[in-house]
Symmetry: C2
Subunit: 493 residues, 2 copies
């Protein structure tokens, strides 16, 4: 590489770096910086003062009282009643109410599995959400282990008729691997399988099956579907590779009842100047029926309403409304947010920024969000104020963030809690989803971040940029850099 080319690379590097720089006015920057005292007050109250440990404690009382909260169950509705009362009476949050939603009501009744050949051994399993039952006496059949739906189609299409298919894939990310959970029953049934067992969707297992929603297709036989542990999937695979014939008996009993009425749980701190403009913080209150839904999504739901409790107690009323929405029925199809979207379709224009935490409430690092460049600059500047809790990272995303709120990912700015959630999927949808998956200090910090960001975005002079793509200066600049980069590349090689 010639010296002049090297110099040009450095110049180019500098130019590209600057392309992402922010162009906020000094006044805008100073306006955001003026919230440092407010943020410090929130952080002090949550991590050291009267609210220290309280998000965890509130959640512990809640999950101890109600346990798991599957959509359609009385436990979920009782838990909503309790929380409406608590938000309203104890914490004086405003406009506390439920908004009715029709939700699915599927229930696990019983399930067991055992290997009967070549040796007898119990096989832990969890029926997948929506799974049909086996016949009352169960199913006994030989096992065929495959690596994916495509593997059935390509290599085992004649081999699975009348068999129990085990799908033992190589785990990549949750986002990639979860497709096996959805695709398995249709793919297996299409080739005559009588049941399907998937390897649980996780990168770490302590003998833990993980449930989660699955799907069927009209016109394809609905076969029972369950998750077995990573350990057992690998064990069955080893046996197949050794040429052993393995027979399994499974018995899964479930029922799908009539849709039930549930509620999205809503509370606000009404804005002082523009009450119709709304910043939303959210999580979902329903959970799967194993464990107690402390991690998924008790943590996300509780930082969302508790952020309002903190703001209210500190007398922090923003110019715009800060609203907490605790979605119902996220786990089995997101009926809650869909109903909310429909009910509020005329208000969507007033939703300034919508946040959801449904990826864990471990130690917070900052925010992931979808926003345009100016929005990115504003959030970056706001997050600098979270320096005292080391949660300053602004991660601009192009794919959806959150879970429920991905419904609006192309419509309005959305954000989610960026946190140290490397172990999130260890616990997700398992019996181990309990308070031990959470940490009181991490929850305090998450509440602080949630309250701070929501308050500031709701209080700024100007509305948060609505557009998700850039226009004007930023767009031109971006086009310029792309063209320049391309030309430079052509010349360089």
């Amino acid at each position: 590489m010639s010296a002049i080319k090297l110099v040009l690379v450095f110049l180019l590097w500098g130019t590209i770096s600057r392309a992402d720089d922010c162009n906020l006015s000094q006044a805008e920057i100073e306006e955001i910086q003026s919230y440092q005292d407010v943020v410090n007050q929130i952080i002090e109250a949550t991590t050291n003062g009267q609210f220290k440990g309280e998000t965890f404690e509130e959640l512990a009382v809640f999950v101890d009282k109600f346990g798991a909260r599957l959509s359609g169950t009385q436990a979920l509705e009782d838990s909503i009643d309790y929380l409406l009362e608590r938000m309203n009476s104890t914490f004086d949050i405003e406009n506390v109410h439920g908004e009715d939603v029709q939700v699915p009501h599927w229930e696990r009744i019983s399930e067991w599995a055992e290997m009967v050949e070549p040796i007898s051994a119990k096989i832990p399993l969890l029926a997948l959400g929506g799974s049909v039952s086996t016949p009352e006496d169960g199913i006994e059949a030989e096992v065929v282990v495959v690596s994916s739906a495509e593997d059935i189609h390509n290599n085992y299409h004649d081999a699975v008729d009348g068999k129990i298919v085990v799908i033992n894939y190589d785990y990549h990310s949750y986002g990639v691997s979860v497709s096996h959970r959805y695709d398995a029953p249709v793919a297996a049934a299409n080739h005559g399988a009588v049941a399907v067992l998937i390897r649980s969707v996780t990168d770490f297992s302590m003998d833990s099956p993980h449930t989660g929603q699955t799907t069927y297709e009209d016109g394809v036989t609905k076969i029972p579907a369950a998750a077995i542990t990573v350990e057992h999937a690998n064990m069955l695979q080893r046996r197949q590779e050794r040429g052993e014939n393995v027979t399994i008996r499974i018995n899964i009993q479930t029922q799908t009842l009539a849709d039930a009425t549930s509620r999205n749980t809503v509370g606000e701190i009404v804005g002082s100047e523009k009450p119709n403009k709304v910043v939303i913080v959210s999580g979902h209150l329903d959970s799967w029926d194993v464990g107690v839904g402390a991690l998924d999504d008790g943590g996300g739901a509780f930082i969302s309403w508790y952020a309002l409790a903190v703001l209210k107690s500190l007398g922090l009323r923003a110019r715009r409304t800060v609203r907490s929405v605790l979605w119902t029925a996220e786990e089995n199809g997101m009926a809650g947010v869909k109903a909310y979207d429909e009910l509020h379709k005329d208000d969507l224009g007033d939703f300034i920024f919508v946040m959801e935490s449904d990826d864990g409430t471990f130690t917070p690092l900052g925010l992931r969000f979808i926003a345009n460049t100016k929005g990115t600059c504003i959030l970056t500047e706001i997050l600098k104020l979270l320096e005292p809790i080391n949660a300053t990272q602004a991660v601009r995303s192009t794919s959806g963030v959150g879970s429920d709120i991905t419904i609006w990912k192309d419509v309005l700015p959305t954000g989610s809690l960026y946190n140290q959630n490397d172990n999130y999927f260890w616990y997700h949808h398992t019996k181990a989803d309990t308070m031990e998956a959470l940490d009181p200090d991490a929850l305090d910090r998450a509440t602080a971040l949630w309250a701070s960001v929501a308050y500031i975005v709701a209080d700024l002079n100007e509305d948060f940029p609505r557009a998700l793509t850039d226009s004007g200066f930023y767009a031109s600049a971006n086009v310029f850099y792309v063209v320049f980069l391309s030309l430079f590349g052509v010349w360089f090689y």
Copy 2:
């Protein structure tokens, strides 16, 4: 601090450092260094050549075939028969035989627990080894949560009569915390408790109860004893702290049958010059009745016999005998090693060095051992040869190493596999003790280390130093340094 004192500190530091230095002759060092080629050959064969992955594969076949191997069960005896045949016929290990031992035969039949007040919830549990049964209909009683046996005695002696005691202690190390498992039933029964549930002995839980042996005392009522998960112990504690009355129903059915005949499993590569002198590598073949005993202690047992398979295949016959002993019935009282000690009491003088791996077979780092200074120097020099697999750490211990072999900790030199076992107690005595707790590469390296150390110690010109304490030069030197250090300290301050 004056300059002269500072200089003296450095001089003293240098002197102390040298106090641990080795005084091996150049000839002794060169003798040990001459084994580098042998060690390289072993490492090549196990980590790259014909044995790569085979320790794991052998163990996987074994645990898939026989599952858990509790003392007294047919599964354990079948597994011993299989292994005797495999060691003898497939790998041509010498003098392969079993040595009879009478072992306890306690069995878990069934167990369940549920909270009935204030809400209904299942409580996973595992009866502790040796636990008596509840009445056939179970026990229903209020719960009292305490932090230890002493806590009952000091603070709850009037409060546990007729109650189910839950012992929810602060976990420290396994060595410290396991005492709760042993002490719980007697301490609780002494104050009238009807059953005792301990928090599982672990620093990490994924809804996993951990079993393990407990003890009773003559003259104290034997009450049922089980382990519950960390999650449930904490949940019960939270409820007590809130003043909730908690009632639990438990039903534990176990049986203690007549002692059974089991075997220690023995194989050798007979020494070429001093066949009566023996280096032992060992692990235990029995396991608890949950999981498949892959980690505890399948790994330790399998590196122990497979080290011999490797040596035999490579034609590496040492001057002394290398013997593999796979203990039986370690888990519930170490009947295997006790019988071995009794049977071989006249041979103990010929046991040169005894090694056991029962703390995990994760990535090996070196050896922990009890030896005198010269023995320490020899092992340190040998372990330098393991540099290609980065397992060179020589850790001199004063407390016992291994598990079974602690019976000889004051009698002869003993060593154990020093390995990256931070997560060992995550899996220990749980259903998650499966092949997924192990790693093929780590097992290969452990086999290499085991084979290398055993071979060299068995082959050196001189017998490994028998004495566990120093005499002559080393002892005088140590006395000198202690006196010097004390005088220096007095002068310095």
